[in-house]
């Protein structure tokens, strides 16, 4: 069993009770160098979360869908590229990154619709979600998707229901090559570094860990053979919460509130000081 507290709540100032307590973290490691693109994780995710997706037409790729969907939270991206004249076929599992500094939570205007647990999982609560879609703009990974029927935004929960009772996430359970592992973020970052060292000694000089610092680090970390170009895997090179979102939720909020209160108070004070213009 994993003890968790709520660390941050969308549109709710201040820190929730217990948020400062250190608890074990939950994280995923995706070693793309041993992924065989079997999609067992996709199936396990759909099965566990009891979701069905309608498939489109065959687009000449092994990829199940062009992008994540509101009812498809785990997608293996297939990328064909070239390295030193040699064809390279890259596969990487794509899902919510569970950022340490989540842009979705920052952008959300509905109190309680997005929470971050002390184990690092970022989760959406449909009952408080109003379907505005601001999280879709706040997220630099384009992960949250709007369900057109319910008008609620949905994404990977890092199987918080399983993790909270001591089970590993469904995708990890299903992986046949052990390219996916589950553990604390600290352990997995160490494990990732070890793997990178092995890859480097095997001649992959460009191998590295993908744990983007622009969002404070993530609870889903990757080992990439070509860490110098994460875009080849469909991962953003330097993901950051959009600066417009940061200004909007930062200085602009104070300026706007000051203007609103100042405007109302200012006109009232003007009336007290100068009174009405020559009354009839």
């Amino acid at each position: 069993m994993m003890t968790t507290f709520i660390k941050a709540i969308s549109a709710t100032p201040g820190k929730p009770a217990g948020s400062s307590r250190a608890t074990e973290t939950a994280a995923k490691l995706i070693d793309t160098t041993t992924c065989i693109g079997c999609k067992a994780c996709e199936v396990a995710c759909q099965e566990w979360n009891n979701q069905q997706v309608t498939f489109g037409n065959f687009e000449g790729t092994y990829q199940t869908l062009p992008d994540l969907a509101h009812n498809f939270w785990n997608l293996i991206k297939f990328h064909e590229t070239e390295l030193d004249g040699q064809p390279l076929w890259l596969m990487s599992k794509y899902q919510c990154m569970h950022c340490v500094d989540p842009g979705c939570l920052k952008a959300c205007p509905a109190p309680g619709a997005i929470v971050q647990y002390s184990n690092g999982i970022v989760d959406f609560n449909s009952d408080a979600c109003i379907g505005c879609g601001y999280c879709m703009t706040g997220c630099p990974f384009d992960v949250p998707k709007l369900n057109p029927e319910t008008k609620k935004v949905q994404k990977c929960t890092l199987c918080t229901d399983r993790v909270s009772v001591g089970l590993e996430p469904a995708c990890i359970k299903a992986c046949p090559t052990n390219c996916l592992s589950f553990g604390t973020r600290e352990d997995l970052l160490r494990k990732a570094e070890d793997r990178v060292a092995v890859l480097k000694s095997d001649g992959f000089g460009t191998a590295g860990v993908y744990n983007p610092t622009g969002v404070g680090g993530t609870h889903v970390v990757y080992v990439l053979a070509r860490a110098d170009q994460p875009e080849s895997y469909g991962l953003p090179k330097n993901p950051q919460i959009p600066w417009t979102v940061s200004i909007w939720k930062g200085p602009l909020k104070w300026l706007g509130n000051a203007l609103l209160i100042g405007g109302i108070l200012g006109t009232f004070l003007h009336y007290l000081r100068y009174g009405p213009q020559d009354p009839e």
Partner: protein, 218 residues
């Protein structure tokens, strides 16, 4: 109150259609502004409860904005030609601080609309367009390109802040600050004395053209 046959001491300030359009603009603006404020700050999220809850507010706020822009377009068409700023108006704006402290001797005389009202008209037009353009992007985030969404989340609140700020001033001017002006927009008439002191050019034009103090709006 018989508005069909105003007596000699009543000048028609705003026609019925002008007033209907003005109040449609006002109500749609008020609804859209208050529901927008609910989503602006967690401290104002209680406004969402007043208007039916967060999901309802998210669903209807854009429609309120759409209604606003449609009725505003009608108001814009009616008043645009009367709102151009002439030399006196520009002079008036430079001396606006005298207006704020009731020192009218330093100010050029105003026509049917004074330079402050004209400025508000253009300000609301410009920021109204910005609000609608960014609002459409925020309405359907699932089909809008990322760059537009990132700009819209900033442009929408900035435009709303200026627009709401202008309206706070407008409501103050139209009610407490200038006695008699609210009746002009509700019942549609003002007294000759009010017209002569607040909009002397408009008043004189009218007396000259009709030879009476009976005024007609355009």
């Amino acid at each position: 109150m018989d508005l069909k046959t105003p007596n000699e001491s009543r000048l028609t300030r705003f026609s019925v259609s002008e007033r209907v359009v003005h109040w449609l603009v006002a109500l749609s603006f008020l609804y859209t502004a208050l529901t927008g404020l609910a989503l602006w700050s967690p401290r104002l999220y209680w406004l969402a409860s007043v208007f039916g809850g967060g999901t309802t507010v998210r669903g209807w706020h854009p429609w309120g904005g759409l209604l606003f822009v449609l009725v505003f377009a009608s108001m814009f068409r009616n008043w645009r030609s009367q709102m151009s700023l002439d030399r006196d108006d520009r002079h008036w704006l430079r001396k606006a601080h005298h207006y704020a402290v009731h020192d009218y001797a330093a100010l050029p005389e105003a026509g049917r609309f004074n330079a402050g009202q004209k400025s508000l008209f253009w300000m609301q037009s410009i920021f109204g367009i910005l609000l609608v353009a960014s609002g459409v992007v925020l309405w359907w985030p699932e089909i809008m390109p990322r760059l537009l969404r990132e700009l819209a989340v900033l442009a929408h609140p900035v435009a709303a802040m200026i627009s709401i700020g202008g309206i706070i001033l407008h409501i103050y001017m139209g009610t407490a600050a200038v006695p008699g002006s609210f009746r002009g927009m509700i019942q549609g008439w003002v007294t000759p004395g009010w017209a002569a002191s607040h909009h002397p050019k408009w008043y004189r034009e009218h007396v000259e053209s009709t030879g009476t103090t009976r005024a007609h709006s355009r």
